[in-house]
């Protein structure tokens, strides 16, 4: 569906749709029969160029951000402030020898990174990156996204098993168990959004949030159930992409490198790329579901292009990922799984109930109070129960005689 845009002036409207105009202008050079296919191809090329470019930038920002958090500089030798570091990393990955273990299953070993990168790229097809800027406007776009996420787990397992290495296999099993557990949480926290917006199509969800009461937007994160859902989505997203504090599958201190131990050179670069792209796409989905997608935070800021807001929000999410990585220690496998099944999942189910309550109570201040009270009380109760009997007192020392 094409969203019409009443802008304050036509300049901001043109800037907002500049990529659409660019694509249409380029496609106009081709004969009419080829134009639809060519438009799709151009869109795909744009996605394939933009997101790996963002990935390169993110690797250097992550290293510099983590460095600053840890009271040190990040890389600062290659280029101004180290910004050309990804070029050096890319050259290194391309020129390293590609080692395949002799007893490894060569075909599966080769296919695993390909499957990962392909399925992760497919997930970008349904994200609305700006007004009218979604590659495929599917009615079940959200379901497609989760289907691609599920296929990612298979590639993790393929990588771990085909390496014929017990550390890889162990890492792969842990990774798959973790990803399956948190997939349930991810899905259920998104279902709340689907319930309220009434559609599985991502552009429709963004359109439902693109309204303003006065100055403030109708983003779902500004509602009690939306905030709870967003927090649980964020936890599940961190676990799905194997980021700290849930990065035990690739924990260097425990498992060498987990399921990508036996990968070197470009295949490892593909795994790295796949992980970061998965981070981008899951942040993009979180932005679309809870943070209003490409809509501006205040109604008077709508003159700034929509794609700027979308990518800005995605980069803010990436910054929060990096922040969490620098702050929290790694969770142990059983702590991870306990957390998912015994804390987050019941809370997600409660959130669904609260969302339904929100919908059926109708407009007014009562639903705000009731929903907030239920969620806060449940959180406090579960927090008290889980913290009971866990005294973190003063450290005591026992010395040898």
């Amino acid at each position: 569906m094409i969203v019409a845009f009443e802008a304050a002036n036509s300049f901001s409207a043109n800037l907002d749709q500049i990529f659409i105009f660019l694509r249409n202008w380029l496609v106009g050079f081709l004969p009419a029969a080829v134009q639809p296919a060519a438009a799709v191809v151009l869109d795909v090329i744009a996605i394939v160029c933009v997101f790996p470019g963002l990935f390169a930038l993110t690797t250097v920002f992550e290293r510099k951000g983590l460095g600053r958090i840890q009271n040190r500089l990040g890389p600062n030798r290659v280029g101004p402030f180290g910004l050309f570091q990804p070029i050096a990393d890319g050259i290194k990955s391309l020129t390293k020898e590609d080692i395949v273990p002799l007893s490894a299953n060569a075909l599966v070993h080769f296919l695993a990174p390909l499957v990962l990168v392909v399925t992760v790229f497919m997930g970008f097809a349904v994200l609305p990156m700006g007004r009218n800027m979604v590659l495929v406007d599917m009615d079940s776009g959200l379901l497609f996204f989760f289907a691609m996420g599920a296929a990612t787990e298979l590639s993790v397992f393929m990588a771990g098993w085909s390496s014929r290495n017990k550390y890889s296999l162990l890492g792969a099993m842990r990774a798959v168990a973790q990803m399956i557990s948190y997939e349930v949480v991810l899905l259920l926290s998104s279902v709340a959004v689907v319930m309220i917006s009434g559609s599985l199509s991502l552009p429709a969800i963004v359109a439902a949030q693109n309204q303003y009461s006065g100055v403030f937007p109708h983003w779902y994160i500004f509602t009690p159930w939306g905030l709870a859902g967003f927090l649980m989505y964020a936890i599940a997203a961190t676990a799905e992409t194997n980021r700290s504090p849930f990065d035990l599958p690739e924990g260097e201190s425990e498992l060498v490198a987990g399921y990508h131990t036996e990968y070197s050179g470009f295949k490892f670069a593909l795994f790295f790329l796949g992980e970061y792209l998965a981070m981008f796409s899951i942040s993009g989905l979180g932005t679309t579901l809870f943070l209003g997608g490409w809509s501006a935070p205040f109604s008077f800021l709508q003159f700034i292009p929509s794609w700027f807001w979308f990518f800005g929000k995605v980069m803010m999410s990436i910054f929060v990922f990096i922040w969490m990585r620098g702050t929290l220690p790694r969770l142990r496998q059983d702590q991870l799984m306990n957390f998912a099944w015994k804390f987050v999942l019941p809370f997600t189910l409660l959130n669904l109930l609260v969302t339904a309550l929100w919908h059926f109570m109708g407009e007014g201040w009562q639903r705000w109070v009731v929903c907030s009270v239920i969620l806060v009380a449940a959180y406090a109760l579960m927090g008290t129960i889980s913290l009971r009997g866990r005294h973190i007192g003063r450290r005591s020392y026992r010395y040898a005689e």
Binding site: I69, Q70, L73, W323, G326, L328, G383
Partner: protein, 215 residues
Amino acid sequence: MLGDGILKGMAETARNFFGSYVSKDRLTTVEYPEERIPTAENARVFPFLVYDGADWEAGLRCVACQICEKECPPKCIYIEKSADKKPDYVGKPQFYPARFDIDISVCMSCQICVEVCPFEAIKMDTQFELATDDRFAGLLEDREKLAKSNEYYHSIHPTEAAEVDARLAEEKAKVEARAKAAAQAAAAKASAPASASAPGAAKPSAPPAKNEGGS
């Protein structure tokens, strides 16, 4: 409340992140080699030979006594005594080292050679950026490379160098006093036979001379 630890941790890391741009103690990185931390005064790396004055051969304090060669634990010092002698800082003729090689790839910076040297001739340097791609000859320092002036010694270890200089000056003063006293005595002896018939005249003249020499 569950989760407050995480929030406190995030606040601390945020403080670190933003603080690293404004305050020095939140970013303790020293960007070597553009910046360097100044070394402490008693830092030590490899030994060097001290010389007084401007000419390194004439002013070299080392008298090739070979004590440091014998005491060095990894035996990294190689000394060849000279055949002739040259005057040292008090004027006494001493041997000097015709060859004095230290293999700094063997040296373990224990400072024993410095501690046993009776002539304050060998001291520890603070230069560590000595990497070279010549594995053998590049790390074998000979007499010329090792000889560094007393002014340089003052610049790297001021307190120590001042103490050494004071001690050496004291020694020199003592030697000079003894020499003067000996000269006085010799002069007295020379004038004594001349006035042997008048011992009473020599005696009164001797004590005042001795007194002068003693002060």
